[in-house]
Amino acid sequence: MSLVSCDVHGKTADSLVISLNSGLVQSAYLEVDNQPLVSLSIDSTERQVTVRSLPAGTSYVRLDIVWAPGDSDATIDVAAGSSPTVAVANPKHTLDAGNTPGYVELFGA
């Protein structure tokens, strides 16, 4: 899609740290059209995933998430360590609790 619908956007090649406030991410992959999946690193809280270089155009991050009893929808945000030009949708988008995988849409301008 585009800048309008994406969850996180920034300049191409920006680094970003996607953060959730719910669920535990067990594996994460960067998906770019016609390219193989790239495994992403997850921090020890299992709620932050690092994308080293934001691809140009639309791409997706697939998050394999374990939801705990009582978890609410996870808000998609970016954490410290992200390039200053990285921003999230306003209002912030969410991932539905209980659904796995969750997809985060990125856009690199």
């Binding site: 309008v4 594996s27 697939r62 705990a68 009582g70 209980g98 796995t100 849409e105």
Partner: protein
């Protein structure tokens, strides 16, 4: 209120009190939506997102601020793939291989279970189960067991079992053959906390043959003139022998407490199997996501917004989305691999669901089952049997089930009764281990069980008025009760092999030894054989269609 009614009421309210705290991620995040009673699978699967959108529109949130909500409903977007799979699994209901595969999946899961009991309990005249298990029937089950364990008379008992929730789903036309958290949604609090955990059963004594007589142990109740020196062991056929209820109890827990969350995270981190299952779901979802991105039409955000704007109740939004979903499904169904891909995801979700529930049991604490059985043994006083069942799984190393229970005589004791209210107390345990590889179509389960029962008094046998004392032609005028057998300990050990077929048919074959039986002294070596059928696979004939 009779004692029977008091017992049932007590069990029911106890069950309500303990079972009300279970909170799953699904129920915690689903608002009181206008769409959660809709019978259309697509609306049910996307209900949470439709409700969110309608709520925002009703609050006059601008269309431009709802892109996150639109993404989740746009089938050409990856964000909609998970709910699409849930919807399509039921949309294909009864029409494609998807549902039959999903039903086969339930059968496969039941085959792996070591905690399920479909037949009669230890005290029946025809039974193959020395120890009561924590789990019961999935939809409706029928078991026929032959051979006694604690009883002197070998009989044949037919047991009809059901899960209260599945019956509720059947009569309300909601698919009973679904897995919560996999491909169905909850019908509410009462379903989650009460019905889902309640199993019911009724046992019918088909045959109870005996020609034996035994020495009486003394007068239990009645006039002294009615005492007899020997009694005939009762024989009968075709009668309701017992009714029972089982309620599964999980320890209370608060998912918002830090201690629970820490424990949950530790369990997740240490569960390699769960990570693999999760990744498999993701990888298989990718295939369907690709089909959707390629073939599904893009959602007209503006038209959807206008539909929501035109009707605050959400009906117009539902109708618009339902039409969009149907049109999209028609296009993506051109991909011949779609049904198989959906089935693969469902199977992976089911494996994950099983692991997730096991982890919840471990995080929340010990799982107990409370069991109540009202027994009507032939020519013996009726009893109320209460049992607490504890089960612990060692995963690949098998499972242990332990029972503790007691039995009380029903109703007012006869005047001059030489016995008290307590019939017996018992403890028992069994170890179960699946012997076959999980991929095998025939599963074999080995069971080793031991049972100890203590009776303060010998068993009581009713001698009806007019009965002729054995060996005489003297009728007993007023009826009486005689003690038969001995007080004290009754020990039973059993080894059993259960062959579990893929179609829901189980065949248990057991051998047992006991130091005595309820009415006779002296040890007994017995054999037990049975057949049970779980009718879950026939659920489509009961009319369930939606979630």
């Amino acid at each position: 209120m009779t004692m029977t009614k008091r017992c049932v009421a007590l069990l029911f309210f106890f069950a309500l009190g303990i079972g009300s705290d279970r909170v799953l991620a699904q129920s915690a995040t689903t608002s009181a939506a206008f769409c959660d009673k809709d019978i259309r699978p697509a609306i049910l699967a996307f209900c949470h997102d439709l409700a969110d959108l309608q709520t925002q529109v009703n609050k006059n949130v601008a269309e431009g601020d709802l892109s996150g909500d639109f993404n989740k409903l746009d089938l050409s977007q990856p964000q909609a793939a998970v709910d699409f799979i849930t919807a399509v699994a039921n949309q294909m209901n009864g029409q494609t291989a998807a549902q039959s595969a999903a039903q086969g999946l339930v059968g496969w899961l039941n085959q792996q279970r070591t905690d399920q009991q479909l037949g009669a309990g230890a005290s029946a005249t025809g039974t193959t189960s020395l120890v009561s298990k924590a789990g019961g029937s999935q939809l409706i089950s029928l078991a026929v067991d032959s051979g006694g364990l604690t009883r002197s008379v070998n009989g044949t008992t037919a047991t009809l079992g059901t899960n209260a929730d599945q019956i509720f789903r059947t009569v309300t036309n909601h698919n009973p053959n679904c897995l919560i958290y996999v491909n169905c949604t909850s019908l509410g609090w009462f379903e989650d906390t009460v019905l889902n955990k309640l199993s019911l059963s009724a046992g019918f004594s088909l045959a109870q043959q005996s020609t034996a007589t035994t020495a009486s142990s003394g007068l239990a109740a009645g006039p002294a003139s009615g005492a007899v020196s020997s009694v005939a062991i009762p024989a009968g056929a075709g009668r309701l022998a017992n009714i029972g209820a089982k309620f599964e109890v999980r320890n209370k827990f608060d998912p918002h407490q830090q201690a629970f969350q820490n424990k949950w995270k530790d369990l997740v981190d240490g569960n390699a199997e769960l990570k693999v299952a999760l990744k498999t779901i993701g990888d298989q979802t990718e295939l369907i996501k690709s089909t959707l991105q390629k073939d599904a039409p893009q959602l007209d955000d503006d038209a959807l917004y206008q539909a929501a704007k035109s009707d605050k109740s959400g009906v117009a939004l539902d109708n618009y989305f339902s039409a969009y979903f149907a049109a999209a499904l028609q296009k993506v169904e051109a991909d011949a691999s779609l049904p198989a891909n959906v089935v693969n995801v469902l199977q992976s979700r089911a494996t994950y669901h099983d692991l997730w529930n096991t982890m919840l049991d471990a995080a929340a604490g010990t799982l107990f089952t409370l069991q109540y059985t009202f027994n009507q043994p032939l020519n013996q006083p009726k009893t109320h049997d209460f049992t607490v069942v504890y089960a612990y799984s060692f995963k690949a190393m098998g499972a242990v089930t332990a029972n503790g229970g007691f039995s009380l005589y029903d109703g007012a004791l006869p005047v001059g009764a030489q016995y008290g209210r307590m019939h017996y107390g018992q403890i028992s345990a069994e170890y179960d281990q699946n012997l076959s590889a999980k991929t095998s179509s025939l599963q074999e389960q080995l069971t080793l069980a031991a049972y100890w029962q203590y009776q303060p008094q010998p068993s009581v046998l009713n001698i009806a008025a007019g009965t002729v004392a054995p060996g005489t032609n003297i009728p007993i005028p007023n009826g009486t009760q005689e003690f038969v057998g001995t007080a004290g300990s009754l020990w039973v050990a059993q080894g059993k092999l259960t062959i579990k077929g893929a179609g829901g048919i189980d065949i248990p074959l057991g051998v047992s030894w006991s130091n005595k039986t309820d009415l006779l002294q002296g040890s007994k070596v017995g054999a037990q054989v049975g057949i049970s059928y779980d009718l879950s696979s026939l659920s489509s004939y009961f009319g369930g269609g939606s979630q």
